[in-house]
């Protein structure tokens, strides 16, 4: 029987469910062949926060949730020989490895062999000035800004190199999310750099898995239209991949959720632009001829992914300090609620302008206009609203200075006593922001600096 590689994903973002991996581990224990468990927990901005944490404490800077995700599964994966692959390393994979060694020792487990991938933090070998001067993909200028982090997206081949050390656990910082799947597949099947269709299939398999439950029924339910069984206990996805690159997406028996052509198609196109040119460091994937077929209940077979040569450059995300965001809200409920909420907003805007604030203030009124309306209440929409209803004013601005952001917060708060009738339920916050931009860099400036290291126990 030909080899099947099984890969489950226990997390799709840094705050995802902590217990989702347990059903996956039980499922993987029952499978034959190479088995992997991944956790994808690193968003663009997460790594900038992690760099700040590392600057304050050299043993910090990895996922603050590492203990929550791995403590309860370490014994099982060791006993069953399941390999763990994760970007929980964030800005400090070596410290993450040391933490896992500690957790294993506390549980009386044998030491794990842990490999870390480094070189994604380009500030170790590229100058800040060069990064700030580089042309950005967004067309914005970074000149004069203060860099918080600059990490290049490494690929599946880099992750495979870490697995080639024979590691039980591979911890990385920034790679493409899909590389956490493609890496194990390159390692297991020995796919060469010119086997482009297979590399593309492995990439799309990773793309489908990388958001955890988003392919198996989460972020999908629309009651009456798209119903999902037992959304409270969705089974996270597991893939079964064969050497030709075709694969199945399924989930553990007895879990909630749904895997159907519709859930797979929604996740396929999630954060995708041109479906004939999905770029990662290993390949350019084309899904325009892809097919999804239902093999059985909650089993979808994917085939027909095509690959072409990868881009000649690698992408760096540069995060820079970005000012302050103020958000403030107050509720106006019952008769004439919308008029009272709008009056409150105009009072704050007037006082902000008088204080010399020239930042544009975004105004929304939940119940009337918000996320879909660009801060504009059209006459058509106004005519459809109820005179007696619950309305919640929200004001926000982004400012270079904390003082201006704080002023917006304070002005709305003052309407508890000094605004229209019966404003209540004020909530507000002022938070420091980070901006980011993407810079392309030739591989030759990056790849010589990428390396794999063992982090031994104790």
């Amino acid at each position: 029987m030909s080899k099947i590689v099984h890969i489950g994903n226990g997390a799709g973002f840094s705050g995802d469910r902590f217990d989702a991996a347990q059903a996956l581990v039980q499922h993987l224990k029952s499978c034959d062949g190479p088995r992997y468990l991944m956790f994808e927990v690193l968003a663009e901005r997460t790594i900038a926060s992690a760099q700040k944490a590392k600057a304050a404490n050299p043993e910090a800077g990895f996922s603050p949730y590492l203990d929550h995700y791995v403590t309860d599964i370490l014994g099982d994966i060791q006993q069953a020989g399941i390999t763990l692959v994760s970007n929980m390393g964030a800005a400090n994979p070596e410290a993450a490895a040391r933490r896992i060694h500690e957790l294993a020792a506390e549980q009386g487990l044998k030491p794990f062999k842990i490999a870390v991938l480094t070189g994604d933090d380009v500030r170790e070998y590229l100058d800040d000035d060069a990064l700030l001067a580089a042309e950005t993909m967004e067309g914005t200028s970074l000149a004069g800004r203060t860099i918080c982090s600059a990490n290049v997206y490494l690929g599946g081949r880099h992750v495979a190199a870490a697995l080639a050390t024979g590691a039980d656990i591979v911890l990385v910082g920034r790679t493409t999310d899909s590389a956490l799947v493609l890496g194990p597949l390159i390692h297991e099947f020995g796919w060469a750099e010119d086997e482009l269709d297979k590399l593309a299939a492995g990439t799309i398999c990773g793309h489908l898995l990388e958001c955890g439950g988003q392919v198996s029924g989460t972020y999908f339910a629309d009651p009456g239209f798209k119903d999902v069984p037992d959304l409270a206990h969705v089974g996270f996805p597991v893939t079964e991949v064969t050497a030709d690159g075709s694969f199945v997406i399924t989930k553990p028996e007895g879990t909630g959720g749904l895997i159907s052509p519709a859930t797979v198609t929604e996740q396929l196109l999630y954060e995708m632009h041109d479906p004939s040119r999905y770029l990662v460091p290993d390949v350019t994937a084309d899904v325009t001829q892809m097919t999804v077929t239902q093999d059985a209940s909650n089993r979808i077979r994917v085939a027909g992914v095509k690959g072409s040569l990868p881009p000649e450059t690698l992408k760096i995300t540069v995060c820079v300090e970005g000012g302050w965001l103020a958000e403030a809200e107050m509720s106006y409920c019952g008769a004439n609620g919308l008029a009272r909420a709008e009056l409150a907003g105009h009072v704050v805007k007037t006082r902000m302008a008088e204080s010399g604030c020239n930042q544009e203030i975004r105004m929304d009124v939940f119940g009337a206009y918000s996320a879909l309306d660009g801060g504009i209440l059209t006459d058509e929409r106004r005519a459809s609203l109820r005179f007696d209803d619950d309305y919640r004013l929200r004001l926000s601005l982004v400012s270079e200075t904390r003082a201006t952001a704080q002023k917006l917060h304070d002005e709305l708060q003052s309407l508890y006593c000094s605004g229209p009738a019966a404003g209540g339920g004020f909530r507000g916050s002022v938070t420091e922001q980070m901006s980011s931009a993407s810079v392309l860099m030739p591989r030759a400036a990056i790849e010589p600096h990428v390396s794999v290291r063992d982090v031994p126990a104790g």
């Binding site: 632009h273 325009t288 958000e327 918000s370 879909l372 929200r394």
Partner: protein
Amino acid sequence: MSVFVTCQQDNHDARHRNAEMENEKMSDKVWRLPLHAIAHGRAGDKGNVSNVSVIAYDEAGYAFIEACVTEAVVMDVFSQVGATSVMRYLLPNLKAMNFVIPGVLDGGVNESRNVDRHGKNLSYLLLSRLMLDIPDNLLAQDSPYRTPEIAAQYSG
């Protein structure tokens, strides 16, 4: 703002046109409903660019939305939230279209003052605010839009 479009029948291929003519004989009823009645989708963000997928529930629905939901129509719907252009990609194998829409995220997740900084809700902007005249045969028999409670909200 809602945008209403009528489908350009000429854009249909002959196979579907024939199928529709058959169906029209059976029922002339047309429902003026949002795209949500016959399609689903998801929005993703990259920088200040949103992508919104639109996926039909069946083949006939796909032929209909491919003809109706054009770049120009989507641009109309997204102009209020700052769209600067719209690019449409077709995936007929998957009964899906993908729209790439720059400019709609108030600078992107790190800059935005929108309560929904990622624009996660933008799939429902397109699904909810694009109104279509939908032939009865394309509306699922068990669609909640056929219930009096919901139908009443879209009549007149």
